[in-house]
């Protein structure tokens, strides 16, 4: 019983400390962490895109078509090879925009997804854009940064 009382007291103290931290420091930073030194070849951090490339970007969604339609970044193009999509056909449709001279950033779902790297590599092979990179953290990084509009 004594141990239970002590455990309860510890929980209360911890809870109060946590609440105080929240009030002082604000809500926790939920953005997807991105260390430039940890990036795979062909990847880019969202912070780099926003600060260095700014509006000079064409966004490419490499997820499922249903996901792109549901909550893709507004203005993004769908270019992917998943779920039987015809990559060549999607690329051909997107070429007029890809060839505008802007940098291209490809995203898939999140950190573990490898499709964006592969799609970026295939787009890069055509030499259509100055830079083609895969977004580290994918759609999740965009959502955590507040770039995906909330559902109405």
């Amino acid at each position: 019983m004594k141990a239970l009382g002590q455990a309860a007291l510890l929980c209360v103290i911890t809870g109060v400390a946590g609440l105080a931290t929240w009030k002082i420091k604000g809500s926790p930073d939920r953005t997807v962490p991105c260390e430039i030194s940890q990036l795979k070849e062909g990847e880019i951090c969202l912070s780099t895109v926003m600060t260095e490339w700014q509006n000079n970007v064409v966004w490419v969604d490499a997820r499922l078509r249903s996901d792109w339609k549901k909550d893709g970044l507004p203005g993004s193009l769908l270019i992917t090879s998943v779920n039987g999509e015809n990559f060549d056909q999607l690329l051909e449709q997107a070429v007029p925009i890809l060839a505008e001279g802007k940098n291209v950033v490809v995203y898939c779902s999140d950190v573990g997804c490898g499709t964006s790297l592969e799609v970026a590599k295939r787009i890069r092979e055509f030499g259509l854009a100055p830079e083609v990179r895969a977004l580290h953290g994918g759609w999740k990084a965009l959502q955590q940064a507040g770039l995906i509009p909330p559902k109405p």
Binding site: S81, V95, P96, K102, E118, F126, L128
Partner: protein, 247 residues
């Protein structure tokens, strides 16, 4: 109290258990005509506690994952198992990396303990280089050549080569039948009608369907405006008018 605090601080150590894998990354070389390939990752529980796999997921719908022993998920110390990653290669060629994420009991939802990497090399039989030829509208419109090379023991013939935009012409030249071709692309648009994009379709008699049709592009861009170079402005090629805006 001391016992309680000791237990709390040591709990994270008890919660961490590991499966030791023969390798977390494997590279395969697939035959050009293969549709599927699989890769086995062997593991062993070398910790002193039971380890439970709670979830395993490939990062691509082109893969499926199985665990041996009828999907056994809980492994006692010393027990061994195999995770098999099956890869459907039908729409892929070249070097492809795919990932399988594995969660163990106690892992956060967004942080799997293990990332198994499968690198598959699928031979490219028809090599196109470059895949895009381009001109600036201010430069002389000299013909440019796309090289087509067959990297296969058997001959692969180009059966046709066409371009979607009439501001360009294409001429196929045979260098070595079944082995090497040149595709000469020339912009022929008039001075007020020469900016645009054409998709080049190259058809071959390659027996492997996914490599039978190849694609390349031809682009004539507007000449860059010298005064438009400011900080943050694009450093790449000048914009091109969207396809369809030029007859």
């Amino acid at each position: 109290m001391k016992t309680f605090i000791t237990l709390i601080t040591l709990f994270p150590l008890f919660a961490q258990s590991q499966l030791a894998f023969d390798s977390l990354q494997k590279e395969l070389h697939a035959p050009a005509d293969a549709n599927t390939i699989f890769c086995d990752f062997s593991f062993e529980n070398r910790s002193g506690k039971d380890v439970e796999i709670t979830r395993y997921e490939p990062t691509c719908s082109c893969m499926s994952v199985q665990i041996n022993n009828n999907g056994k998920l809980k492994y006692a110390p010393g027990e061994k198992g195999i995770i098999r990653a099956n890869f459907d290669m039908q729409s892929y060629s070249g070097k492809v990396d795919k990932l399988v994420n594995v969660w163990l009991k106690g892992d956060p939802e967004d942080k799997p303990s293990l990332n198994l990497v499968v690198i598959v090399n699928i031979p490219v039989l028809v090599e196109i280089s470059p895949k895009t030829v381009e001109w600036s509208s201010s430069e002389f419109m000299s013909p440019k050549t796309i090289k087509i090379k067959m990297i296969h023991s058997e001959p692969i013939k180009v059966t046709s080569a066409t371009i979607s935009n009439s501001i360009f012409t294409v001429e196929l030249k045979t260098i070595n039948e079944g082995k090497e071709y040149d595709l000469v692309v020339t912009p022929v648009g008039k001075s007020d009608n020469k900016v645009g994009i054409g998709t080049i379709s190259i058809e071959t008699d390659c027996k492997i369907a996914k490599q039978r049709r190849q694609m390349a592009f031809a682009i004539v861009r507007n000449a860059p405006v010298a005064s438009a170079v400011t900080s943050g402005a694009q450093q790449g090629p000048a914009p091109v008018a969207p396809a369809g805006s030029v007859e």
